[in-house]
């Protein structure tokens, strides 16, 4: 990935979260040529904006200038979700213990990013992604692309209290409310080319004040639920269908309901045994 930006905050964000992965410009082919640049015309100075470009094409409406770094992260998510030909991409967090992966699909607000951060920082699960699960159909493995975990609103305070948590700046008044990014550990980065096999699919459901519950979900129901969270299953056609069926055949599927971080971790412990 090549990232270009004249915005200082984007450079700071990259230095904070990607410093160990930076390479000097080379002539190698890049999959994504990305820019985050200031707004055009009046928007360079008045009600300043920032723009995201992929391969010199502007793909979204501009955002307020002070959201340049989150725009980079959202733009990168969009790149991964919309571009990879040959991989099934699902809106799900994915972590691994050894070579065994847990996939956590969920609608926004289900609590999966907070749970990802908890598993990663408190239980030392390797982070593959907090947002996008990339399933390689031929091997049936999920591919890592560890990037900062994006946490929102109340979760920011919760995650900042996790041991070893390193958060960046808090961005307020975004379309998702207040957000911040949490660095993943060096171990996840150094294993960024090591795939994992899905052993568990867990649908998290945070319920304020709720108790802990673990329920098995049938694979057919899990298929229906995950399909809603797949970005490109239609485009993948029969290959995507078979890949998802195979993934589920080899995994145990659960829904967990919880009202606190500890309850969620206890539920995951119950699932993985």
């Amino acid at each position: 990935m090549r990232v270009r930006s004249s915005i200082g905050e984007v450079a700071e964000h990259i230095q904070r979260f990607y410093a160990t992965r930076l390479q000097s410009p080379t002539d190698v082919f890049v999959d994504f040529d990305v820019q985050v640049q200031p707004g055009l015309g009046l928007r360079r100075t008045l009600h300043r904006q920032c723009r995201f470009l992929l391969d010199d094409n502007e793909s979204f409406f501009p955002l307020p200038f002070d959201q340049a770094a989150p725009m980079l992260e959202w733009g990168l998510n969009w790149c991964v979700a919309s571009r990879p030909v040959g991989y099934l991409v699902m809106h799900a967090g994915v972590l691994a213990m050894g070579q065994r992966a847990i996939v956590m699909p969920g609608h926004p607000g289900a609590g999966k990013s907070t749970l990802c951060a908890a598993l990663h920082l408190m239980k030392r699960w390797r982070l593959l992604s907090d947002e996008l699960t990339i399933l390689e159909p031929l091997s049936g493995t999920v591919l890592p692309h560890p990037r900062p975990i994006c946490v929102k609103n109340e979760s920011i305070d919760i995650v900042s209290g996790f041991p070893g948590a390193s958060l960046g700046r808090i961005y307020r008044d975004t379309r998702k409310g207040a957000i911040a990014h949490v660095a993943c550990d060096q171990d996840s980065i150094s294993q960024g080319m090591v795939p994992a096999k899905v052993h568990w699919v867990v649908f998290p459901r945070f319920v304020q004040g709720g108790g802990r519950k673990v329920e098995e979900v049938s694979r057919a129901e899990a298929f229906a639920l995950i399909s809603e969270q797949s970005f490109n299953r239609e485009r993948m056609g029969e290959v995507g269908f078979n890949a998802l069926c195979s993934m589920l055949s080899d995994a145990s599927c659960y829904q967990i309901t919880y009202g606190s971080t500890q309850a969620a971790l206890d539920a995951i412990d119950e699932v993985v045994g």
């Binding site: 098995e216 049938s218 694979r219 057919a220 298929f223 229906a224 399909s227 239609e234 269908f241 589920l248």
Partner: protein, 106 residues
């Protein structure tokens, strides 16, 4: 379901000729032991459905044989045998599948 609860006059006749809906090319997900349902995928449209075992058997039978009467299908599909009234159960399943544009009549 008791036979007397099923009013045959309000449902498809057993002689109805059935075939897969035009343009459907179906493949089936695994018969997972944890599920009483099967995922069915249409290669042409990319659509998928979660259907009962009986519905999957009906569709599978029609995918192989291309067409048949309702009576012959009800007799041949394995899952129908688990129902008290296989013909009534198969008829209702077929009618649902017609509604989903997976089966056509005639």
């Amino acid at each position: 379901m008791a036979t007397e609860d099923f009013d045959v006059q309000e449902h498809l006749p057993l002689t109805a000729r059935l075939s897969l809906a035009a343009g459907r090319d179906l493949i089936f997900g695994p018969r997972w032991s944890c599920s009483a349902a099967v995922v069915v995928f249409d290669r042409n449209s990319g659509d998928h459905w979660i259907v009962s075992l009986l519905a999957a058997d009906v569709l599978s039978s029609m995918s192989a044989a291309r067409a048949g009467s309702l009576a012959s299908i009800a007799k041949s599909v394995p899952a129908a045998g688990s129902y008290y009234d296989p013909f009534a159960a198969t008829t209702m399943v077929v009618e649902n599948l017609v509604g989903y544009d997976l089966i056509q009549v005639g």
